[in-house]
């Protein structure tokens, strides 16, 4: 081996420059990769976020539109039943307005979503109690 590849000054220099270059090149490669990965992460994250946000916002906004409409329709009715429904509608409206749609990392997102859905079901059933099929159809339409 030594006869074929004698250690010469030039070889030592070559080995030394290899080591230094390795570190440097790994750094450059890493940085380049990091930039690329950042762009990819932003794109993929944005894709999932946009889809999720659009779906959730569509649902929450539906509850708001539903509640505000019924509030307008029942506002001038003074019977007890209507008053009870109005209170439930106010509670539903309150939940939609407090919903953290601008904070996707909110710890309350999941909990508030479940509360809203439960409240909507309660309101929907109470409003359409006379006609059971209506609430079922509404749920089907919504889903």
């Amino acid at each position: 081996m030594e006869e074929r590849c004698p250690i010469t000054d030039s070889s030592i220099l070559l080995i030394e420059s290899f080591c230094l270059s390795s570190v440097r090149f790994r750094g450059e490669g890493y940085q380049e990769g990091f930039q690329r990965g950042t762009k990819r992460g932003l794109h993929n994250g944005w894709r999932h976020g946009a889809s999720h946000g659009a779906n959730l916002s569509s649902e929450i906004s539906f509850y708001y539109g539903f509640a505000i409409s019924w509030k307008c329709l029942l506002e001038h009715q003074s019977d007890d039943r209507s008053r009870k429904r109005l209170r439930a509608l106010e509670a539903l409206l309150n939940l939609t307005q407090k919903f953290p749609l601008d904070d996707p990392q909110s710890v309350k997102l999941q909990e508030d979503t479940e509360k809203l859905r439960a409240k909507f079901r309660q309101v929907d059933i109470s409003l359409t109690r006379c006609s059971h099929n209506n609430s079922l159809t509404l749920c089907v339409l919504f889903l």
């Binding site: 590849c5 030039s10 070889s11 070559l14 290899f18 390795s22 090149f25 790994r26 450059e28 490669g29 890493y30 940085q31 380049e32 990769g33 930039q35 690329r36 990965g37 950042t38 762009k39 990819r40 932003l42 794109h43 994250g45 944005w46 894709r47 999932h48 976020g49 946009a50 889809s51 999720h52 946000g53 659009a54 779906n55 916002s57 569509s58 649902e59 929450i60 906004s61 539906f62 509850y63 708001y64 539109g65 539903f66 509640a67 505000i68 409409s69 019924w70 307008c72 329709l73 749609l101 601008d102 996707p104 990392q105 929907d124 409003l127 359409t128 209506n134 509404l138 339409l141 919504f142």
Partner: protein
Amino acid sequence: MSWVKAASSNSEDVFDENADDLYLQSKEWASNMKKRIKDGYVDGVNAGEEASLQMGFNMGFREGAAQTVAVGRLRGIVSAVWCWYQIQHPEKPVPSRLIDLLQQVTQHAEGIINDIRKTLENPPPSVSDVSESMEDLEVKPAGCEETDCCRSEQEMDLQGSHTQQNLRCESGCAASGSAGGLDLLVQRCIDLASELELPQELISHIEELRNM
């Protein structure tokens, strides 16, 4: 001084051997560098992606959410009117205009969500994507010098940020292309609400959707 001549003649041969060795070593060195670059590159890509995923999600979430507020509310309103009509007039069939409107609004909402999903699933290739492929094939543009490469890198960075904006624009444009559709649905809802003599306050809430 024959040894000098011998040494010189030998040194030519030795030089040639060293040249061969040096050539092989430098080739091996270049190959190792390339491998090491790739190694670091992959780690860098993974780290970069992990660091930016949540930020991308948060931005996308807010923008996606903004696109369905109006149509979501309209669907809620039309659903409420539909329910109300059935309760108020159990003996009558629900007007077909009302049923049609509810279906159209539902389809419109689904269309917006599908557009968002489709636009971002198949983004147009960016300059950086194409450049990278060319690098893999070791295709160099003609007359490429260091300064030109550096300039093109900057352009790629700009392209990267433009790509993000283009994606937002495309998904937004897909939705806003249907903004005309939403305005039409809002108008139909207002007409129907007037026809059914619904409270003015409700009609005002429907009109608000035009400005969203």
